[in-house]
């Protein structure tokens, strides 16, 4: 009985808000922002909300889109994965947004996927992730493993990277590190690295007592072969990890640590002097000198009224994603989801590091890959970059189960086309 009453109430509320929004719809185009502003992930996601507000503000100053003003609709999914799905539904069904920019963790993305499919809307996902996915309604502007993990390992195997022979794959225990490490292990073995020269270790979320792990790394590294750590340690656990590395005197010249989730923001809470020379692999660094990046940093620091505010890789992904969406809407002449989705592949926008990123048919984009060394001031010194832009690969070629899969939403209209069985629908 109670649930029926609730349902009726919800329906009534929904109808009134529907009416209200349809009135407003005539004047504005709404853009949804789905980033946690409270809870564990607020540390990373709040910045992305701010950058979206800046981009939307910017676009409105240029005259809006299709002659209408853009309007940001900000919701707070509070680092709570089921709440992400609820808030996504609210954004699409109730607020009638034309596109959503949001999510950070893979589990939050997986949680909103069914909603975006059911209500047929568009999600721009700005964070590096484990790949093994391509959905019609999602555009992945962060790096796939082949745009971050594989080039980083290639660098460490090169002469400049120190010709590393032994590998520690250290990660937080969840889907992104597990999948990435699976891909890396297969890749390293394909390069002739023996199984006993690879050590894989996982720690829980928010892990803070790294003594045993760091001394195990030191021990593994004293076997006479050049050793490196590939870290997929996520979020809050990084600070105690790096503090322990610094305190136990693990120097980058002996055992370099290359991280995939440590950027300028994370280093802001650390004394970086003991970490000099440890590495990070990203598609963007604040310290990259290009006119576009200089202008972007200036605008961002003016927007946040903080001359020390840092920029990072997922922010650039949102910049690229937003510009791509704007171009696609202009090309399609409408915000209708199907037409914008069809218009997006092939759209080109300049990125902040001097190249031009293209949206591919598999809904991933082309990106350059940079390796940066941590400097004493918490910024990165670029020591290596790929010669061109690397196209994102949705399905890794190094995992046997995903090797035959291909994603192509333009010709095949399929996110997991199996080239062996010639069928859409996975392995």
């Amino acid at each position: 009985m109670i649930s029926l009453r609730k349902l009726a109430l919800a329906g009534a509320v929904g109808l009134t808000s529907l009416y209200a929004t349809s009135m407003a719809q005539a004047q504005t185009i709404k853009v949804g922002i789905l980033h946690s502003l409270s809870g564990t992930m607020a540390i990373s996601e709040t910045t992305l909300k701010d950058i979206m507000l800046m981009l939307i503000d910017d676009q409105n100053k240029k005259g809006g889109l299709l002659g209408k003003k853009l309007e940001a609709v900000v919701v707070d999914p509070a680092s709570d994965w089921p709440l992400f799905a609820e808030k996504a539904r609210q954004l699409i069904a109730q607020d009638k947004v034309s596109a959503v920019f949001g999510c950070w963790t893979s589990v939050s993305r997986k949680s909103v996927l069914p909603v975006f499919k059911e209500l047929n809307s568009i999600l721009f996902y700005p964070v590096q992730y484990e790949g093994e996915e391509s959905e019609k309604n999602v555009f992945y502007t962060g790096a796939a493993p082949n745009q971050q993990a594989i080039p980083a390992v290639d660098y460490l195997m090169s002469k400049d990277g120190g010709e590393v022979k032994r590998w520690v794959l250290e990660g937080t225990d969840y889907v992104y590190p597990r999948t990435t490490n699976k891909i890396l292990e297969a890749y390293l073995k394909s390069k002739g690295v023996a199984a006993e020269d690879i050590m894989v270790n996982y720690t829980p979320f928010g892990f803070s007592d790294w003594q045993t792990e760091v001394s195990a790394i030191k021990k593994f590294g004293s076997a006479g072969k050049k050793t490196a750590v590939v870290s997929t340690v996520n979020g809050d656990a990084n600070v105690p990890f790096y503090k322990e590395l610094g305190n136990q005197g693990v120097k980058a010249t002996d055992i370099p640590v290359v991280a995939f989730s440590v950027g300028e923001e994370e280093l802001a809470g650390l004394d970086t002097k003991p970490l000099l020379g440890h590495l990070a692999a990203w598609n963007y660094f604040q310290s990259i000198k290009t006119p576009a990046n200089d202008a972007f940093i200036k605008e961002w620091q003016a927007f946040t009224k903080n001359p020390k505010r840092t920029t990072n890789d997922p922010m650039e992904a949102h910049v690229i994603g937003f510009k791509m969406w704007v171009k696609a809407v202009e090309k399609a002449g409408t915000v209708d989801a199907d037409k914008v989705i069809a218009a997006l592949p092939g759209i080109e926008v300049p990125n902040l590091t001097g190249g031009t990123s293209v949206m591919l048919a598999n809904h991933h984009i082309t990106k350059p890959v940079f390796i940066g060394e941590i400097k004493a001031d918490g910024q990165f010194d670029i020591v290596w970059k790929t010669s061109g832009l690397v196209p994102g690969d949705a399905w890794s070629d190094f995992l046997p189960e995903s090797k035959p899969l291909e994603a192509d939403w333009v010709k095949l209209n399929c996110g997991n086309y199996n080239t062996d069985t010639k069928k859409c629908g996975g392995s």
Partner: protein, 541 residues
């Protein structure tokens, strides 16, 4: 000259850049060529820097140590326009790297530092190592010997032997002998006697590096050498396995101190008062943020005394968290005594409010609490490295625990507190203001949590989520140790910490934690009141 040439030829196999050294050595006019070698630094390419670096090392120019030292510290600058190289000394004065003359005419604006990567840093420390083997400073000589040990570069052998012949200090001599052993043990043309000396030196060193080196012994050595190596290997392995246990014990103690520190405040509020305080972790967080604020204040006003900020931060954190605790007790918990479920929900809601409050005031990103100089780094005790911050946290925990025990045992407030928790009605009849004691007790527990925050700020994130990570562990320690008993909390923390660290190397951090949780659940089934249960009338009250 012949000796030098032989030395170069031997190095050829191991180091590719030696080719360049020979070219440099062959150049007739050294003074003119030195400036030319420096041009490599101005190309902003790692390969050119590497060749320039080795050329400078090989040049024997008196400025070489200064230039290499400046390169390592980022004080070597170049001008891309004029292709000139300069270095700064520690007082920011500029010198021409080619002549060593002081320079004033160049605007610092168009100078940029010569960049290094890890490969170059490695090469540089090896080059500096052979240059500083005869440095007057003992610590520098040991560092240099250690660098040579790591690089195992056979070209440094003559320099090493020369330094060894002059060395008087026993400690440095030992380090140099180990370095020499590392070089000669695997070399093909070493005599059996030298190999035996090397094996003895490595056996004395006795760490993982020595073990690896002993295993690189070529196969064609005499039987007695082989046997000496084998017995050295087994002796080292035995010693290392004992040290591994000592290390686990130390790490266990360290984890236990952190657990105890986080749980000890809860042992008061939950253990003694029986309040299920879900906002306990947030008190820890408030303490950590207080430390941050005090440190920032010192950085801004008294930059010379930042290392002493902790002395102010500890009582400040106690007062801030204690004041919050008293306010919470008077404002909320007072009205909920005897209703554990409501208390739990109310304090949980409060914890979320406090987290968001801190997030709004300080922002969601981590804050940097820097360690004072005496808390940074590590020292070697046998074959384990003991980090200073962990060691001081253990000391700090012992002090806090002892102070708390003394407070409860010897002060009037402690007496009143025990009286109220044991028999409220009787205490009230004796004229003790129970409401006041309740508030102060809760304030004390929260204040201790704040002090824990001071220590945890040095090993964990100072972020709004700091407290959440410790609340479960704290409850676990208190429940396991026995509610209402501080000694139980101590034993509980020690047991959990040490058990966790002995499990971790075998089971991994994730599985280790699960095993511990399962064991505690089983234990609580058997002894619902924990390790040290209070007996008698106090339990019923």
């Amino acid at each position: 000259m012949a000796e030098r040439k032989a030395q170069l030829v031997r190095g050829f196999a191991s180091l590719a850049f030696v080719v360049f050294m020979m070219a440099v050595a062959a150049l007739p006019a050294l003074a003119a060529s030195f400036e030319d070698t420096l041009v490599g630094f101005t190309a902003d390419s790692f390969n050119d820097t590497a060749t320039a670096m080795s050329a400078v090392t090989e040049s024997g120019d008196p400025l070489a140590p200064q230039i290499l030292g400046a390169l390592g510290d980022g004080r070597l600058l170049f001008s891309a326009a004029t292709k000139k190289v300069y270095f700064k000394d520690s007082t920011d004065k500029l010198f021409d790297a080619a002549t060593g003359a002081a320079v004033t005419a160049v605007a610092p604006g168009d100078l940029s530092p010569v960049r290094l990567n890890n490969r170059l840093r490695g090469l540089l420390s090896a080059a500096l190592g052979s240059l500083t083997l005869m440095a007057p400073d003992v610590a520098k000589r040991i560092d240099a010997a250690e660098t040579v040990f790591k690089s195992r570069d056979i070209t440094t052998l003559p320099a090493l032997d020369k330094a060894l012949a002059q060395e008087k200090n026993a400690e440095v001599k030992e380090a140099m002998l180990e370095a020499r052993a590392a070089i000669v043990i695997g070399a093909p043309d070493t005599s059996p006697e030298h190999r035996l000396v090397a094996i003895t030196a490595l056996n004395t060193r006795g760490d993982g590096d020595a073990l690896v080196l002993l295993r690189t012994l070529p196969a064609d050595v005499p039987a007695n050498v082989k046997q000496a190596a084998a017995s050295a290997i087994s002796s080292i392995e035995y010693r290392l396995s004992i040290w591994a246990n000592v290390q686990n014990l130390w790490y266990g103690l360290s984890l236990a101190s952190v657990l105890l520190l986080a749980a000890i405040g809860l042992a008061i509020t939950f253990g003694v008062m029986g309040v299920i305080n879900m906002a306990h972790g947030e008190m820890v967080m408030l303490g950590a943020y207080t430390t941050f604020v005090i440190q920032e204040f010192f950085r801004a006003k008294f930059p010379g005394f930042t290392d002493y900020a902790l002395i102010v931060a500890t009582p400040a954190a106690f007062l801030v968290a204690g004041a919050f605790g008293i306010a919470i007790e008077r404002g909320i918990i007072r009205h909920l005594y005897g209703r554990p479920l409501e208390t739990l929900l109310a304090t949980w809601g409060l914890s979320l409010i406090l987290q968001q409050l801190v997030r709004t005031v300080f922002g969601p990103t981590n804050r940097d609490v820097g360690a004072p100089a005496w808390m940074a780094g590590a020292f070697q005790a046998g074959h384990i490295s003991i980090t200073y911050n962990r060691m001081w946290i253990i000391v700090f925990t012992i002090v806090v625990f002892a102070a708390l025990l003394a407070l409860l045992r010897y002060t009037a407030f402690g007496l009143e507190m025990r009286a109220v928790t044991q028999n409220r009605a009787m205490a009230s009849a004796m004229g003790i203001k129970t409401g006041r004691v309740d508030a102060l007790t809760f304030g004390l527990g929260s204040g201790i949590a704040g002090i824990a925050g001071v220590a945890l700020a040095h090993i964990d994130n100072v972020s709004p989520n700091l407290g959440k990570a410790y609340i479960i562990d704290s409850f676990m320690v208190v429940v396991f140790g026995g509610v209402g008993n501080l000694w139980g909390t101590l034993v509980g923390a020690l047991t959990l910490g040490v058990a966790n660290k002995f499990l971790e190397p075998f089971a991994g951090a994730v599985l280790g934690k699960i095993v511990i949780l399962v064991l505690i659940i089983l234990f609580i089934q058997k002894r619902p009141r924990g390790l040290f249960a209070l007996k008698g009338r106090a339990v019923e009250a």
